[in-house]
């Protein structure tokens, strides 16, 4: 079995447009959440959302490349370009090696909606334009990135709801462990336009604490009232340890364990057993004593039931050992298809810079979160291993354990 290491990271989120900006936001506990009045005009129950600008890539990508790529693909391009540069992978490396791509994405609503609107209005499919088909498929992010960067290994989108990005890293690590790929560009992307989350708003899943947007996302807090939608993209480049050493790559960390499970239960209400089994599998696969884990990045999205059940699952597995547990969603909102990848990037930034970002807005615990060690302020601490949870609709669960190198 091959060892799997992380050699590059990239991020484009409401906390910043690159690793450095995001690190600063995490360190300072800065929220990326705003109130968007346009959503209220559109009939949203909640006008809360993460705020990020759509990158202008007019002078970076050709006209044809931009025609095929949707909003979340632009975020993914920026994050991936940063990650490849940090991993010191040149275009010559991409051209001459079989580098793979596993990217999490589970919707492309804006592109689908625009093409259907044109079809309904014009009754002429030619007028939909050439880009719509490539923007409208769920695999849009991986198909665009693979063509832009000319990647030649595995080329797949992972759709596992809000655990997509985490499963992408986990499945990629298995392919490398088994010797089937040497290097894989993993990640997750999430569109932020209102159309992508209207149906989510419609099931009353979002916080309505509109009077104070920065305080709306409050994972584990007693008075949480729902999640806040976010998005962007995050890229994590994973590589076979030996080939990374051979090419002199920066070796940042090692993916030690990947756990997964399905709740086999309700479509939206998470349980305790499924996440618990995912946690236990990751720990078993990593072959570690849990006391080596210095930080847990929780999935906790700020929903009443989800946070409660995750707190129970973590407390059940970790018992009297209580490492710091935080949810970076307190600052970013729920980055959904991107979250599993972005939260690995956030946790990596913390591990490499000796701090744990605060679980902002954690003011009062409830009965279950009181069993965990949840800091509401930044903790300056060196740690060398973290665990990251990601769960999604349909009861899909993913857990990663990553060690500093």
């Amino acid at each position: 079995m091959k060892r799997v290491v992380i050699t590059g990271l990239g991020i484009y989120s409401c906390l910043g447009k690159n690793l450095e900006e995001v690190k600063t936001s995490l360190y300072n506990g800065t929220s990326g959440i705003i109130f968007d009045p346009v959503r209220k005009e559109m009939g949203f129950r909640s006008g809360l959302t993460a705020k990020l600008d759509i990158p202008d890539l007019k002078n970076v990508l050709s006209r044809n490349q931009r025609v095929y790529i949707p909003e979340q693909g632009l975020y993914a391009y920026v994050a991936t370009a940063e990650a490849l540069a940090n991993a010191r992978l040149t275009q010559n490396d991409l051209d001459t090696r079989e580098i793979g791509l596993l990217y999490g994405n589970d919707s492309t609503a804006d592109a689908v909606m625009n093409s259907i609107d044109t079809m309904r209005e014009k009754k002429n499919t030619t007028l939909i334009g050439s880009g719509a088909i490539f923007k409208s498929m769920n695999s849009t992010v991986s198909m665009n990135l693979a063509c832009i960067f000319k990647l030649k290994g595995i080329n797949l989108t992972i759709s596992g709801a809000c655990a997509s990005g985490s499963h992408a890293i986990g499945l990629g690590s298995l392919l490398i462990r088994w010797g089937l790929q040497d290097c894989i560009v993993c990640g997750g992307a999430q569109e932020v336009n209102p159309y992508s989350v209207g149906s989510f708003d419609g099931i009353s899943a979002f916080s309505v604490r509109e009077s104070d947007p920065a305080k709306a996302s409050r994972p584990f807090d007693r008075d949480r009232d729902g999640l806040v939608p976010g998005g962007g993209a995050a890229t994590v480049i994973i590589e076979n340890y030996d080939s990374a050493v051979k090419r002199g790559a920066p070796i940042l960390a090692e993916v030690l364990g990947y756990g997964f499970s399905s709740n086999g239960d309700h479509i939206s209400v998470p349980n305790v057993d499924g996440p618990g089994r995912s946690l236990q599998m990751a720990i078993r696969e990593a072959g570690i004593d849990i006391r080596k884990i210095g930080y847990i990045n929780a999935h906790a999205t700020s929903t009443p039931v989800g946070d409660r059940n995750e707190a129970k699952a973590i407390a059940n597995v970790f018992g009297d050992y209580r490492p710091e547990v935080t949810s970076t969603k307190s600052m970013t909102g729920h980055e959904m298809w991107m979250a599993g990848a972005s939260e690995v990037v956030y946790s990596m930034l913390m591990m490499k810079n000796d701090f744990i970002a605060p679980n902002i807005n954690f003011e009062n615990p409830d009965e279950d979160s009181a069993r965990l060690n949840i800091p509401a302020s930044r903790v300056n601490k060196r740690f060398n291993m973290f665990l990251s949870n990601s769960f999604g609709f349909g009861g899909t669960n993913s857990t990663l354990i990553i060690k500093n190198l």
């Binding site: 006209r63 044809n64 025609v67 030619t126 007028l127 939909i128 334009g129 050439s130 880009g131």
Partner: protein, 81 residues
């Protein structure tokens, strides 16, 4: 719209959409080469002409329109008719 106005409007929308210098669009220039069109972006040109001028370029005509002059003639004829 006289022919010169038509030419200017066609050139403007094509240059803007396909991001080429308008000076490169000359009557005898090949459309595909000048605008760097492949089979997909050719669809966008057809859609653009239909949206802008209300002139549909059906399959059998696409292959006969090679130069910008061919395109001006095609649009001009359809508008007159």
């Amino acid at each position: 719209m006289n022919r010169q106005e038509l030419i200017e409007q066609v050139n403007t929308v094509l240059a803007e959409t396909f991001e080429v210098a308008i000076s490169k669009i000359t009557p005898d220039a090949e459309i595909k080469e000048t605008l760097d069109l492949d089979s997909l972006s050719l669809v966008d040109m057809v859609a653009l002409i239909e949206t802008t001028f209300g002139v549909a370029i059906k399959g059998q005509h696409i292959s006969s329109i090679k130069t910008f002059d061919n395109l001006y003639d095609f649009i001009s004829d359809r508008i007159k008719n």
